[in-house]
Structures are given as C-alpha cells and as structure tokens.
C-alpha cells in the first residue's frame, strides 16, 4: 500500500479527536523472553496508538536483570519516555512482606514483584502528569486494540480482556489514572503480605484490592492478544 493510501485510509477527524486524549502506556514485568522482544511489543502497541492519533507517553518498569540479560540494552535504545529499572526484589525484601514461598508452581517473588513493580510505576505515573488513561500491560505480550480501542477507554470502569478464567485477567488493563492506581494500590507491604497469605491465585489479589477500593471491572475484546509462549524459556 502506498503511503498516501495509508494516510487517507485513516479517518482524520477521529485522529484529531484522539490527539486530545493523553495516554500513559506502561509496560511492566521482566524483559522476557529477551529485551528485544519487549522492545518489539512496545513499538507495536505504541505505534498502533500513535497512528490512531493518541497522545502517548511510554513507561517501562522492569528489573535490571532477567536471567542472562540486563536492561542496559533496552534502556539505551531511547524507546521509552520514562524508565523505572530496579534491582529484582531480594529474598529479604519479600520475606518482610510474607512468609509464603510459592503460588503453586510460581515462586512468591514473581507475585510480590508484579504488585510491587506495578504500584511503584503507577505512583510515579499518577504524579507525573494529568493523563486521561493508563494502559497497563505486561512486557511479554503482544497487544492490538484495533477498532475496539474506544470500548477500552472507559471513564469509569477498569477494563480488562474477556475472562477465560474465573478471575479478572491481570495481563492488561485500561482505566483512568485514579481508577488504575486504586485497582493496584495495596497501600502497605503488610497489606500486600496479608493478601498474598489469604488468596489462592495471584489474580485474586488484584480482585481483592479492586473490591476494597470499590473499582468496577468490565471486559472488552481485542484484535490481538498473544502472550509469548517462550516467556519462561
């Protein structure tokens, strides 16, 4: 397709309206299976949103190391507008929060890390600017909203993918900044520890926080949602 065909295939009026919408696009999680995969997932979603005209600011919240990779390569790409790269939580840090060792096959450090990393990033995002929406995605996943995007931009509810499990999908969520922050705000490490100790699956923690903070969930379709099967390779 020629470039002028591509340009004219987009509805200009909608692009102009979208440009007034400020979106913080957060990728959080380990840079897996590789830093380059994370960079590709970021580029694809960021570009999709920018082509639709949205005013997008990118955030990366990841650990400095993952297996044999370190985040230096990813940080030096200049891909992200904002970066929060921390050392992975130490066993002592996790132990301050909970004495639990695992959720089934998942080490407790993964679950602690996800909530700790999400809250840290959302605290920064909500203090950094007046965004209209926060898109909160995993790093190891490819997402395309396509024509469904406006179903996801809901001013009231926390929007997540259609449920294929008995619990809310925590892979990606979209909400206004206050709702997003509240949905993931465990308040204190003691509270997070209490939630970890009393829930059966990690996603129940998100559901519990949302219930406590009176956050309502709705689901919406996506054009593409692909969790990298090699993420633990």
């Amino acid at each position: 397709m020629e470039i002028d065909q591509i340009i004219t295939s987009f509805p200009i009026k909608e692009i102009m309206e979208n440009s007034l919408i400020k979106i913080a696009l957060l990728f959080r999680g380990p840079m897996r299976p590789t830093p380059y995969a994370t960079a590709i997932h970021t580029s694809l979603l960021r570009n999709e949103l920018r082509l639709q005209g949205f005013n997008v600011t990118t955030y990366l919240a990841t650990w400095m190391t993952y297996k044999n990779y370190d985040a230096n390569d990813l940080m030096s790409m200049g891909l992200y507008d904002n970066i929060i790269v921390l050392q992975p939580p130490s066993p002592a840090q996790v132990k301050r929060c909970t004495s639990r060792k695992s959720y089934g096959i998942y080490p407790i450090s993964n679950v602690f890390g996800m909530y700790y990393q999400s809250k840290t990033a959302l605290d920064i995002i909500t203090s950094a600017d007046d965004y209209d929406y926060v898109i909160h995605s995993r790093t190891d996943m490819r997402v395309k909203f396509g024509t469904h995007i406006h179903n996801w931009l809901d001013p009231v509810n926390y929007v997540s993918p259609p449920q294929t499990t008995p619990w809310i999908c925590d892979w990606i969520g979209v909400a206004n900044p206050i709702t997003m922050k509240k949905a993931w705000d465990y308040k204190t490490f003691d509270n997070l520890g209490g939630l970890i100790d009393t829930t059966e699956v990690p996603e129940h923690i998100l559901e519990s926080i949302m219930k406590i903070n009176n956050i309502h969930n709705k689901t919406s379709e996506l054009e593409d949602l692909w969790l990298d099967p090699d993420r633990n390779a």
Binding site: S76, Y80, D81, I124, S127, A128
Partner: protein, 214 residues
Amino acid sequence: MKIAVLFRGPVRPQPYNVVERYREFMSQFINIDAEVTTYLATWRQWKNYKASDILGLDLFDNVIMQTEPTDAHRERCTALKKLQNGADIRPVYNMYYQSRTALDLIVNADNYDYIVHTRTDLQMIFGAHLPQWFNSSYTTIHAKPHPWTCDQMAIAPTKLMYNAWNYGTIEHLGRMIEAADKPEAVLEMMIEDSKVPVKTAPYDLWRLDHRRNM
C-alpha cells in the same frame, strides 16, 4: 551497613561528565565496610543530550528516568514563575519533585541504613573525613544559618533523609516555593517542620561543575 547512593539531576553538562562524576564519587566507597547500591534519577533529555547515552554503560544498579515535567504539570504546584531572589521556578520544582520521587522508591526498595543524596554535576571528595559523614544527623556541606542549608549533597540515616525531602503534597510544595526567598529555603522548611537534626562535616573538595548550564 547498607547504603543507597542517589545521583539526581540532568545529564549535564554532557552525559559523559556524569559518568566521570559517578566513577570518581563511587571510588570513595570501595573500601568501606558496607553494601552499597546506586540509584540514578534523571530526565530523559538535557538540552541536546539524551540520558539513554549513558544508560547502556552498566553503571547504576537502579534507574529512574523521567520526561521533564511540563509547564502545566508545574502549574498544578504553583503559578509562580520566579522565586523572590529571581531564580526560575522550573529547576527548583524539578529538583524537589525528582528527589522525592527517587526517595519514595528507595525507602520502599530495601532497608538501607543511610542514603547518600548527591547531584549528577557535583564533584565531592571526602578524603579522610568520610566516616564523619555517617552519623545520626542530616549531614551536609554547610547549614543554616551559615549561610543556609546546602541542597547539593547530604548523607543521613534513611528516615531523616526521607523526612528532610518529603514535601507532602504537590500543593504543599507549591505553598513552600511561594514562601521561599531562595531554592534552598524549601529544604530548610521541610527540615524544620520534621525536626530533622542537621550538622556539617569536613571534606577535601566541593565543586559544582561550572559548565553545568552551558
């Protein structure tokens, strides 16, 4: 003993100068009996330079790189454009916002005994005086009333460092900036409000990079 060393500020005058400052500063902590973890809090860009140029060098253990706050963001804090002494509000707001953001993260990240809080464009050689900087006060280069409390570098127990830079809400930071006659006055107000004990300690060299605004 666990120590967090925070470098905060723009990558100025150029990114490689920050690398030099980092290496020189951190070389003073190699032979002390402590577990030292480094943090960089910086802006994505300084003039035509990009912070990403030094983020691939494997220098810092933890990195917080943010897009510099917009005018609209600052105006949530205060509509004032200049302090009473004529100083531009922008770097003042940025310094307090960036320091607080980084300190929030550091205190949640681990149980550090001390935080060393320094600038990216500051040369500071402690020499044989380094042990005197680790005590039960907020220890800095000079302190009020002679002539005011220095905001360029300090070492303090974690709780005191956090309290000294904790402005509460953005609105409260705005009120303090509006009442300040110079940038350091905001730090002095927070230190007074939270009753943080302050002292000074000797050093061999204290030099702010004179090219920092070039």
